[in-house]
């Protein structure tokens, strides 16, 4: 769909972008924390099985966890050091998860040893295995194991590969910087992805608020690759996979279906960069680029941060305001609030945003009854009726929500809550309702 010259999807919202403060800052290396806590669940799927023991010394890049089945990936040591413990650690979800407590050796180098490379000439299955072994997951935030997505079942095919450099989430500039600084890796990654998926062409999607990135990628676009860089209108949630498909291809993923059903595949630009970086060198993910920002952060910036860095160390290092009271992993629209500062950075963390009390609008806004203004209806990119869903949720009619109002199609982008003038915590209600529906379904099955 095209509006005012630039492609986009229908509905959506325009939150303040707040990206200017970090978009110009180059990626900087982040120091090691005195203790790194590497959770063995950083992805969707089964936890990795630890292959190290307490007291064992590990090399930076060494595998410390192996995948438990296909729906799982490897973990690698982010630093050379001593395994203090293999025990439970707090996670963003509030639950305790198994983790490896790693104490880096003082002066541990940030240089990385190469492993066995996986060349572009390898077979599809070899590349997929290499991606799983490198521990690659979707770095956009969902942390879905990438190799699972790339395993195309018999009878299905992909004609278009979309590389998602939209980064519509306010405050975050991770992908922006990656596109500017790691374009070579991105295109290498794309070659691997094209090979594995068999797609005919690739589209790199960039939002119009990053003209420098789009320009840079266009210039760097290898002439032998069939594809293009598309600039999209600035609108949230343009970066959601489904929105990209409808904006770029005019195709809609069937309700509760997969992108494969419309012969498309979407991969985050940072994920592509990681694949391009790691596979030729036979390495695993040990660190990632994260935007540390928000009104409460003193030294905002884009940092390459070792996986497992505790949030407390990270914030102390960049400095935060005294009255900070909310920290999210991710951006303010879809990011999850950190339950404590003891949790650590994982592969799925694209940003850390800290707010002070005064900037925290929602804390002080009174909740009014729904006045049926319809803002949410005009915002929902899935064309749901959040107002109705919200009222149904308030009276706990969860099955009606799921059966008649497509509750399960909501992907919690937060657009409805953002625009709601009554400040009704719609997304929160939908999450609760979804959990209740899943529970009752599980109970019934």
């Amino acid at each position: 769909m095209r509006l005012l010259g630039l492609k986009t999807f229908r509905h959506g919202v325009h939150p303040p972008e707040s990206k200017d403060e970090t978009s110009g800052l180059s990626i900087r290396q982040f120091p090691f924390a005195p203790l790194l806590i590497v959770p063995l669940v950083q992805h969707m799927g089964a936890p990795s099985i630890p292959v190290v023991e307490e007291g064992q010394e590990v090399e930076r890049g060494q595998r410390i966890g192996r995948p438990d089945g296909f729906m799982s990936v490897s973990m690698h040591a982010p630093a050379s050091g001593l395994v203090r413990r293999v025990a439970l650690a707090p996670s963003i979800s509030g639950r305790m998860v198994p983790a490896v407590y790693l104490e880096p050796f003082p002066g541990s180098t940030q240089e990385i040893e190469d492993g066995t490379p996986c060349p572009l000439e390898a077979t599809k299955d070899e590349i997929i295995a290499a991606i799983q072994d490198a521990g690659v997951v979707g770095l956009g935030g969902a942390a879905f194991p990438t190799h699972v997505k790339l395993k195309i079942p018999d009878g299905k095919f992909v004609d278009t590969l979309i590389i998602n450099g939209v980064e519509c989430e306010p405050f975050l500039t991770t992908d922006h910087r990656v596109m500017l600084e790691e374009s070579r890796d991105i295109f290498t990654g794309i070659r691997y992805l094209l090979k594995v998926t068999g797609a005919e062409r690739v589209i790199v999607a960039v939002e119009a608020n990053k003209p420098d990135a789009a320009e840079h990628l266009r210039e760097a676009f290898p002439s032998d690759l069939n594809g293009s860089v598309e600039v999209l209108q600035v609108k949230y949630p343009q970066g959601a996979e489904k929105m990209l498909f409808s904006a770029l291809l005019g195709r809609e993923v069937p309700s509760r279906g997969l992108p494969l059903d419309i012969h498309a595949l979407c991969c985050n630009v940072a994920t592509a960069a990681q694949i391009g970086q790691l596979l030729p060198r036979g390495r695993g993910i040990q660190e990632r680029v994260i935007t540390v920002t928000g009104p409460a952060v003193k030294r905002k910036g884009n940092y390459r941060i070792p996986i497992g860095t505790p949030l407390r160390f990270l914030l102390e290092h960049v400095g935060v305001a005294d009255d900070v009271n909310r920290v999210f992993l991710g951006g303010p629209m879809m990011g999850a609030a950190a339950p404590s500062l003891e949790i650590s950075i994982t592969k799925g963390t694209s940003g850390v945003t800290a707010f002070t009390d005064t900037a925290a609008e929602r804390t002080h806004s009174p909740v009014y009854p729904c006045i049926r203004c319809g803002y949410c209806v005009d915002a929902c990119p899935i064309f749901l009726d959040p107002s109705m869903l919200g009222r149904l949720a308030a009276s706990e009619q969860f099955s009606t929500m799921a059966d008649e109002h497509h509750l399960m199609d909501c992907f919690e982008c937060g657009s409805c809550s953002f625009v709601c003038p009554s400040h009704i915590p719609l997304v929160q209600r939908f999450r609760g309702a979804k959990a209740a529906v899943r529970k009752s379904k599980a109970g019934a099955a």
């Binding site: 939150p15 303040p16 306010p170 489904k242 195709r251 809609e252 993923v253 069937p254 309700s255 509760r256 279906g257 997969l258 059903d261 419309i262 407390r312 102390e316 400095g319 005294d322 009255d323 900070v324 009271n325 909310r326 999210f328 991710g330 303010p332 629209m333 879809m334 990011g335 999850a336 609030a337 950190a338 339950p339 500062l341 925290a360 609008e361 929602r362 806004s365 009014y368 009854p369 006045i371 049926r372 203004c373 319809g374 803002y375 209806v377 899935i382 064309f383 009726d385 497509h406 199609d409 937060g414 657009s415 953002f418 625009v419 709601c420 003038p421 009554s422 400040h423 915590p425 997304v427």
Partner: protein, 341 residues
């Protein structure tokens, strides 16, 4: 650590808000209505001022007292009841006895709003509920109009205004007919410039179309009002009455006259757009506006009453749940084939 012993707040995303709030929206509607109210006072003098003040005061007080009686915090602060009061006052004949104004104000808020659960659940526009009940209760008083811009309007009030509670008003000999009544019962058309500028008799707030439009444009520009509803009403009224006018200009008034006379401007701009009672989908808004436009013209042309905007909007309110249901958009991905689950 920098944040000391402070605990982190855990709330679910999104963590930022658009900055729109019910009370800011409502307050802006009040702002947009102020010029209209000001003109009403200018045109009808003391009578207009007293009518509007009494309307607002009775509505606000009723809401406050009902909240108190129900043991809840007063909801007067969200400004919505002020809008109700202002709109209600603007729809009244400026010479209406003040006791009737007050009684209607109580009906607006009690019957139109509080008994259904208050803000957000008032299916019918409360201001129009009050006015419709008053119209049914006191048909004579509700159709007795005084001309605007009368000499001495700032120093005296019509004899009817200060009628003792529960007694019948006495009218001076100065009552005059509205442009719609003049047309309906005498086929006399009023000059368009008089209509647009408000040099006519009628309800307090229906006299100045220009100021009403200014208020509407302000709200639309701030995205606090659906432009689709008034646009659809105006378009429907224009096309429908225009077609009739082409058929027989002596029987059917011109579309311009239809647009600018009576309560159409005020109703279409400020009452039909009341968020609670209007559809939420865009297609629903178009249909809702078309329905209001058609019903208005039908009542004005063939019905017994000279004006039908109020009834048309109330009917629109009643149909809204169905419009919302029928125009519910197809969700993303429902068009494609259903994937195996």
């Amino acid at each position: 650590m920098a944040n000391g012993g402070k605990t982190l707040e855990i709330r679910t995303s999104p963590h930022i808000l658009s900055g729109y709030s019910v009370d800011t929206i409502m307050f802006n509607v009040v702002l947009a209505l102020l010029p209209v109210a000001g003109f009403a006072v200018f045109a009808f003098g003391l009578a207009g001022l007293l009518t509007l003040s009494m309307a607002v005061a009775s509505c606000v007080l009723t809401e406050h007292l009902i909240c108190r009686a129900a043991g809840k915090p007063s909801t007067v602060g969200d400004w919505s009841v002020t809008i109700t009061g202002l709109l209600y006052g603007l729809t009244l004949p400026p010479s209406l006895p003040l006791w009737m104004v007050a009684a209607g104000g109580v009906i607006c808020v009690a019957l139109g709003k509080a008994l259904f659960g208050g803000l957000g659940y008032n299916t019918f526009n409360p201001a129009l509920v009050g006015r419709a009940v008053l119209q049914a209760a006191f048909p004579v008083a509700m159709t007795s109009w005084i001309p605007g811009f009368a000499a001495g309007r700032f120093s005296s009030v019509p004899s009817s205004t200060l009628t003792l509670p529960f007694t019948s008003p006495e009218y001076d000999a100065i009552t005059s007919a509205t442009p719609l009544a003049l047309w309906k019962f005498g086929r006399e058309a009023t000059a368009t410039s008089d209509l647009a500028m408000g040099f006519i008799s009628g309800s307090a707030g229906e006299t100045s179309s220009v100021l009403i439009l200014v208020g509407g444009v302000y709200l639309i520009a701030r995205n606090m009002m659906s432009w689709r509803i008034p646009a659809s009403i105006f378009a429907t009224v224009f096309v429908f009455s225009g077609a009739l006018h082409l058929v027989d200009p002596t029987r059917y008034a011109s579309p311009i006259f239809m647009l600018f006379s009576g309560g159409l401007m005020l109703g279409a701009t400020f009452m039909a757009t009341d968020m609670v009672g209007s559809p939420m989908t865009s297609r629903g808004c178009y249909l809702y506006g078309a329905l209001i436009g058609v019903v208005t013209i039908v009542i004005r042309t063939w019905g017994g009453l000279p004006e039908g905007v109020m009834y048309a909007i109330l009917l629109g309110n009643a149909v809204t749940p169905h419009l919302d249901r029928w125009t519910r958009p197809t969700i993303y991905g429902a068009k494609g084939k259903e994937a195996p689950t």
